[in-house]
């Protein structure tokens, strides 16, 4: 079986299992964990979608937050229907991302990474300065409709599955080929008459729409949001899910999100050691699994043990050179 195929199946099985759990379980704790896992999957897949063009978009965290605040305002102030709040969360993030992309996507690589980092932190500073949306202490009272309560986890998993499916479909189609071509060599794409910046903005806008929906769902799950929820660490965790799961396939993001969310649930019980242990786990996983969990599984499945230590860092540098 080719590696792409079993990864497709694994991803589908993982999402299917989450759907079944969310539908069948009545235990509050299980439902909560399933909810966090699927929100984390959504953030990771949205981040990875922009990574297809070769850019690391830390502002995923900012767009997640913009979606959360937009939906929060719609629900808490105007009491418009829930579905509209979620949709407006996504559209709000999309709109801001187009403006952000128009300015910043002229840059690439480290510059884009730093500017998206600075954007995330500055948007957070703006929240803390805006008393209308609660300043430092944030917004309260973002309730989903009462009848939805028992199905909320299921709704989140279903939405995540839908959006992940949509992004995977785009990745496999002609649009995805364009994104990968830009990652390989944007000058070549430019030379055949395509507008690279416009394609990158579209890619960013789609991913930000997904992130905005995620943020809106997050806000209604938490009921309370504050600027601290949307620091750059949100994007870092999403990136850790992608890298530790395996960057090459969308299933890597899913597997990484499941593994690290479960680990975090375990680690949280250590109180103030939480950050130390989680940070340590990320460092160790990065060092031990250069191609992520999926890369390891693929290698174990296809090759005898003797070749396991191929591609040491020295060889890697020669390749990268």
């Amino acid at each position: 079986m080719s590696s792409a195929k079993w990864m497709d199946i694994l991803g589908a099985v993982a999402l299917g299992a989450l759907l079944v759990l969310a539908a069948a379980s009545h235990e509050a704790y299980t439902l909560k964990v399933v909810l966090w896992i699927s929100l984390n999957i959504l953030a990771a897949v949205a981040l990875r979608f922009v990574m297809l063009t070769g850019e690391l978009n830390i502002a995923t965290a900012a767009f997640w937050g913009i979606g959360a605040y937009a939906a929060g305002i719609v629900t808490a102030w105007y009491e418009w229907p829930f579905a509209l709040a979620i949709l407006l969360g996504g559209l709000g993030a999309l709109l801001v991302s187009v403006l952000f992309g128009y300015v910043t996507l002229r840059t690439k690589g480290p510059y884009f990474m730093l500017i998206s980092f600075a954007f995330t932190e500055v948007v957070r500073l703006i929240y803390t300065q805006s008393d209308v949306i609660g300043g430092n202490s944030g917004m309260i009272g973002i309730y989903p409709p009462r009848w939805l309560d028992p199905f909320y986890s299921l709704l989140v998993v279903a939405t995540t599955t839908l959006l992940v499916g949509m992004m995977l479909w785009l990745e496999r189609g002609p649009f995805g080929k364009l994104l990968k071509a830009i990652q390989n060599n944007d000058a070549v794409v430019e030379s055949v008459g395509l507008d690279v910046q416009k394609i990158k903005i579209m890619c960013l806008a789609l991913a930000s729409f997904a992130a905005g929906i995620g943020g809106a769902l997050f806000a209604h799950a938490n009921r309370v949001i504050s600027p601290g929820d949307f620091s750059f660490l949100l994007a870092v965790y999403a990136l850790a899910y992608v890298k530790i799961g395996g960057e090459a396939h969308v299933t890597g993001a899913i597997v990484g999100a499941i593994a690290l969310t479960l680990l975090n649930q375990y680690v949280i019980s250590f109180g103030h050691f939480e950050h130390l242990l989680f940070g340590g786990a990320i460092v160790i996983a990065m060092l031990a699994l250069p191609n992520g969990i999926l890369g390891l599984m693929d290698r174990l499945a296809r090759r005898p043990a003797m070749q396991r230590s191929e591609k040491t860092s020295r060889q890697r540098e020669a390749v990268d050179g």
Binding site: M51, L56, V103, T104, R106, T107, K108, G109, P110, Y111, M113, L114, I115, F117, A118, F119, E121, V122, L125, I126, T128, Q129, L233, V236, L239, A240, K243, H272, F273, E274, H275, L276, L277, F278, G279, G280, A281, I282, V283, M286, L287, P290, S313, R316, E317, D320, G321
Partner: protein, 294 residues
Amino acid sequence: MDLVAQIVINTLQIGSVYVLFALGLTLIFGVMKIVNFAHGEFFALAALVVASLMPILAASLGLPHWADFLIALTAATGAVIVLGTLTYWIGFERYLRDLVGSFILSVGLILFLQGVLVEVFTATPRPIEPIVPGTITILGGRITIQRLLVLGLAVAFTAILYMLLQKTKLGKALRAVAEDREAAMLQGIRYRRISFYGWLIGVVMAGLAGALIAPLTVSQPAIGGDYLIKAFIIIIIGGLGSIPGAIFGALLVAFIESLFGYFYDLTMATIVMFVLVMIFLLVRPQGLMGHVER
């Protein structure tokens, strides 16, 4: 005029520490082509070592405060060198020229080191007594002698780094590697060894900045975060890897901070800086003195 003099003096004083911090970051980027997000932790480590050693030294040795400070500064530098060496050999060596991989590694390190720093030094803020008391007036602007001393030391450290990069063989090797790694290797420069030195000098610059800031502020483990975001704005303005760019960017950011900090508040100043960066990017995406990305 007094106000102008005051803002110029504040700019130079704040800016001199930003210069040290940003120079370390830009040097590491130049040589290793990675962004060290954990830069603030080296800064915090040095600040905390100074802030917790100073009272102990004052109680046990009976030397003047400035002598205590120099001893604490040396100890802080030593601690940063040890941590820098460990993190390089365990982690960053494997992620040379890997922007995304090194990013996660350094953020993992932020979480880990924050945890360690809180365990070792506790999260309680640590103020320390002034190393030299008194205030003087220069051209109508007031500055405490202690801040003047910090400014002088920061300028001296910057000058030493500059001389090192311009005049010594190591400095030439560092610049050659930053310019074109393969051509430098063809000349017989050992890339791995040079990148280790570049890394070490970079984190020591962060440590020196932290040690210098300790007497001027209350040190606590999260102190590096603010500096990190400003350093990013600085190197976006100045161009990644550019030494003159980092110096110019640091002074510009410090000027905006002094000006808006004087009339409004510091959060407003950071927002204004970012808006300026966005406008700046529209005109010049590679930074002021950066090279075009290839």
